[in-house]
């Protein structure tokens, strides 16, 4: 089994979830999957559950640059992309790059930014480049946006429309850590200080190579049939207004590839698809107005449960 740089990636995961970010194993794994597929991830959870810590640790141990934007309603697009400032010494305008010019960008409380800023950011996510004053600047590779949003506080927010949600390959929560883990965290305090001095265990090139390996994972016909069956089932479900888009189905295949890679397989099995279906697809469902109260994850799990896995 020769999957390039898989061992290194697993080592990073073990390091992070086993030692630094206890109780966040799943979220860290999903972040890595998003990174490997070249997608972005939306973390929806309450404040104070370690979203920022996780992002910092993640960036640190990967040896990647890290940028952070705290969204407020008066945040301007230029606060993210950067802007040109007149340099009196040089006698010309120089472009000061914004926080988006980093490998890992943490967008905190993305739903507090106004739609104009949100769309500028989402455009950068999709295009992987930024155009300011007629000049196009490519964004660094790899590029991962970790956006967070608070699901409870809704006052003064601009919730992301479903169309924008579609651009995140994964959406997940972190959740409270298990009892023992949380007590342990309380005993030892925050690890923010520690994280500042993390030594990266993988190189930038390792990461690029791993991404290429993920891209080359084999997806068989049966798995494609299965993905299509899920997409179609969501489109035909009576409670759903709009099911999974083709982009969503592509995301499902990509995420399944990353899962297969991390599992040490060079091909995708239907179980990979099933495992990632909820995090990849649920935020893409648009429910009928009268069904708003239903939790999308539960609905999606119910739909997936009804579709038999192809075994032959």
């Amino acid at each position: 089994m020769s999957l390039a740089k898989r061992d290194e990636m697993i080592a990073v995961l073990d390091e992070l979830s086993g030692r630094r970010l206890r109780g966040k194993g799943r979220a860290v794994r999903l972040c890595l999957m998003a990174l490997l597929t070249g997608g972005h991830i939306l973390l929806e959870d309450l404040p104070g559950l370690g979203k920022t810590t996780m992002a910092l640790a993640f960036a640190g141990s990967m040896g990647l640059s890290f940028g952070r934007v705290q969204c407020t309603s008066d945040l301007l697009p230029s606060d993210i992309t950067g802007l040109s400032i007149y340099d009196r010494n040089a006698g010309r305008f120089t472009f000061i790059k914004g926080p988006v010019f980093n490998n890992i960008v943490l967008i905190d409380e993305i739903n507090r930014a106004m739609p104009k800023t949100q769309s500028a950011l989402l455009e950068a996510m999709e295009e992987r480049r930024v155009t300011v004053e007629g000049v196009t600047y490519p964004l660094p590779q790899p590029f991962l946006v970790l956006a967070t949003q608070n699901p409870i506080e809704q006052v003064g927010t601009f919730p992301l429309p479903e169309a924008q949600m579609d651009r995140f390959i994964l959406k997940t929560g972190i959740g409270y850590p298990p009892e023992e883990t949380e007590k342990n965290i309380l005993m030892h305090g925050s690890i923010r200080e520690e994280i500042q001095h993390l030594t990266p265990t993988v190189t930038h090139d390792d990461l690029i190579e791993a991404m290429r390996a993920v891209h080359g994972i084999y997806v068989g016909e049966k798995v494609i049939d299965y993905v299509y069956a899920i997409a179609r089932a969501t489109r035909e479900h009576p409670m759903v207004l709009a099911g999974i888009s083709t982009r969503g189905a592509i995301g499902l295949v990509d995420a399944a590839k990353a899962a297969a890679y991390l599992d040490g397989r060079s091909f995708v099995i239907p179980e990979d698809v099933k495992d990632v279906a909820a995090v990849v697809c649920s935020h893409r469902l648009m429910l009928k107005p009268e069904q708003e109260a239903i939790r999308k994850e539960e609905l999606l799990n119910a739909i997936v449960k009804e579709i038999p896995l192809p075994v032959t």
């Binding site: 084999y218 798995v223 091909f267 099995i269 239907p270 179980e271 099933k274 449960k305 032959t312």
Partner: protein, 630 residues
């Protein structure tokens, strides 16, 4: 979500109503009105979650019980019992309802329905019985839920499932019911008939004709009898019941026919009829004019072709009759002319004078009959059943004043004139017409078609049928739309009587006998044994190939995965229902052999390539290991 409590309460109301409704016409006013009132009050109290409690209900029950039992005698056993059952049911509906009380309601309803069969065993009883059986089965199942948890709620889907399973039980038992119906022993006599007393009811067909007794005749459209036979021309539908051959005072009655008289039904094509009369007290067996033979019931035939049967109690019977559609009955014995020329005590003068004129005519009986016909025609009489002439001179009034009447007037006036004219004559009572049911292939004859006509003796011809009502203006007994509709409703009752009520020991025995004969008469056709074996083998082979094709896995992979899933399902039965994949199952079972199998199998199948030979072998080995471990 549906409250089981509400379902049970509704079912109980319906069930109690099914117990009450068939008894309704036979109850005394107290029981008749107490039940609906108690039902409404009970429902209202239940809505308000109140109940009268045992302190009121128990003394009430005892009081009602004493009230009814005090009137108990041998004649009123049935009435008292049914009233008491309904009243007790009503009290139960009034009170608080626990599981035990519901069971009491169900039991009482069943008893009420059984009691109703003592009064009337019509086809409707079957409907009630089937409905009750279905509802009882459903209610008992639903009740078990409520007994477990009083306030239990079920979703619509769950309820649907419960109800369909509950419905399946009685439906599944229906064939058994049918089977038992044919087998169970039964008596040829109704067990309860001694309790019922005489079931005589008003019939249109009478054994006394006295025109002028009533001013209008209204006979209910009750069924008189049904006759299964082929469809016949309308004008031959005279059903002969009784012959009134003499006078008792002024009324026509049946006297014993004179000694030595005998009649012969002329030869001709005979019509076979199977007749199902409604129970009545007359004892005359009706058949198409002129009946030749009658079997199925022990009967006496008199020389004027009147059959009297010995029908026990109110038992429903059926008999078969053969008739010749002929208008004249030959007389082979001596005819006592004076007997058939006897006159009533009083004769209206004008009628007497008319008779004298007729007698003075020199020509024979046929000429006199023609003269009577032309006399009737000249009077321009019309047929009616209302505003009939009454009193002593009713016939005079009929012929000269009012000039309308019903068949009794026509027939008795005609017969009297003929007798005055010296032609022996008598009246024949029976029915005329009938509605043919094409679907059932039988005639339905109702009491309102009862009819009287005349037979006059013509030398050389015998007794000739004359229907003087035909000489009236507007004598039509046409069938209305209502009659058509009625006919369809009647069909069910007919088959009920035919198949259930008149089904008795005799038919049971004949059924067994024919079955035995069929079995005895059955002989296997002689076919060479070798050929039979060959054909059987070939058929078996085809069936086996068919199943093999259906069952055979298409590829070795498929066979492997089936085996794998079978092993997995045996270890964890839940897996089957979860539509599990191979990896998922092996992960859950934590068996290294199965895990390895999944890895090898998945690597091939999910990379769209067939398993290689060594992989196949390895997979089989792994499965064998797993099976042995299990």
């Amino acid at each position: 979500m549906v409250k089981i409590k509400a379902v049970v309460a509704t079912l109980a109301i319906v069930i109690a109503s099914i117990g009450y409704l068939p008894l309704f016409p036979y109850l005394d006013p107290l029981a008749r009105w107490f039940f609906p009132v108690a039902l409404v009050v009970g429902v209202t109290l239940e809505r308000r979650e109140k109940s009268p409690g045992g302190k009121i209900l128990t003394p009430l029950s005892i009081l009602l019980f004493l009230y009814y039992v005090s009137g108990l005698s041998l004649e009123t056993v049935v009435a008292v019992t049914s009233n008491l059952l309904v009243v007790l049911l009503a009290v139960r509906m009034l009170g608080e309802k626990s599981g035990r009380n519901y069971l009491q309601i169900f039991g009482l309803s069943l008893f009420c329905l059984a009691a109703s069969s003592l009064y009337n065993l019509s086809a409707l009883f079957l409907v009630y019985l089937l409905a009750l059986l279905l509802l009882l089965a459903v209610s008992l199942v639903v009740l078990t839920f409520q007994v477990q948890e009083r306030e239990i709620m079920l979703s619509r889907l769950q309820l649907k499932r419960v109800l369909s399973v509950a419905l399946l039980m009685p439906v599944a038992s229906l064939p058994l019911m049918l089977f038992l119906f044919f087998l169970l022993p039964r008596t040829p006599y109704p067990l309860w008939s001694f309790l019922k007393g005489g079931g005589a009811r008003q019939v249109g067909f009478t054994d006394t004709v006295r025109p002028g007794a009533t001013s209008s005749v209204t006979t209910p459209k009750n069924v008189a009898f049904r006759a299964v036979c082929r469809k016949l021309p309308e004008d031959s539908l005279y059903w002969r019941g009784i012959v009134l051959n003499g006078y008792a005072g002024d009324a026509w009655v049946r006297l014993a026919p004179p000694e030595g008289e005998d009649a012969a039904v002329p030869a001709g094509e005979s019509v076979e009829q199977e007749i199902y009369p409604e129970p009545s007290a007359t004892g005359y067996l009706i058949a198409l004019n002129l009946p030749r033979k009658l079997v199925g019931v022990r009967n006496n035939a008199s020389p004027d072709q009147v059959f009297t049967g010995q029908v026990p109690g109110n038992k429903r019977v059926s008999y078969r009759a053969w008739s010749v559609l002929s208008d004249s009955l030959k007389n082979v014995g001596d005819l006592d002319r004076s007997f058939y020329l006897a006159l009533p005590r009083s004769i209206p003068p004008r009628l007497f004078a008319e008779g004298q004129v007729l007698a003075a005519r020199s020509d024979d009986a046929e000429g006199k009959i023609a003269a009577v016909r032309s006399f009737f025609r000249s009077r321009r009489l019309s047929y009616t059943t209302h505003d009939l002439p009454v009193g002593k001179d009713a016939l005079d009034s009929f012929l000269y004043v009012k000039r309308h009447g019903n068949c009794e007037y026509f027939a008795s006036a005609c017969a009297l004139l003929l007798r005055l004219g010296g032609v022996p004559a008598r009246l024949v009572g029976g029915y005329h017409g009938g509605i043919y049911s094409d679907m059932g292939g039988y005639y339905l004859i109702t009491e309102d078609t009862a009819h009287v006509w005349v037979e006059a003796f013509v030398d050389g011809k015998g007794w000739v049928k004359i229907d003087p009502s035909q000489w009236s203006q507007g004598f039509v007994q046409n069938e209305s739309l209502g009659a058509r509709v009625r006919l369809y409703a009647d069909l069910m009752g007919f088959y009920w009587n035919k198949a259930v009520v008149t089904y008795d020991l005799e038919k049971q025995i004949s059924l067994v006998r024919t079955a035995a004969q069929k079995v005895r008469g059955f002989s296997a056709p002689s076919v060479p044994k070798r050929e039979v074996i060959l054909v059987l083998l070939a058929a078996g082979g085809i069936v086996a190939v068919f199943f093999w094709i259906r069952q055979r896995p298409a590829s070795p992979e498929e066979r492997l995965v089936r085996e794998f899933l079978r092993i997995a399902a045996r270890r964890d039965p839940e897996l089957n229902s979860r539509k599990c994949g191979v990896y998922e199952a092996s992960r859950r079972l934590r068996d290294p052999a199965l895990k390895e199998f999944a890895a090898i199998y998945g690597a091939a199948v999910y990379q769209d390539r067939p398993l290689q030979t060594d992989e196949l072998r390895r997979c089989r080995d792994l499965l064998k290991q797993a099976r042995q471990q299990a």
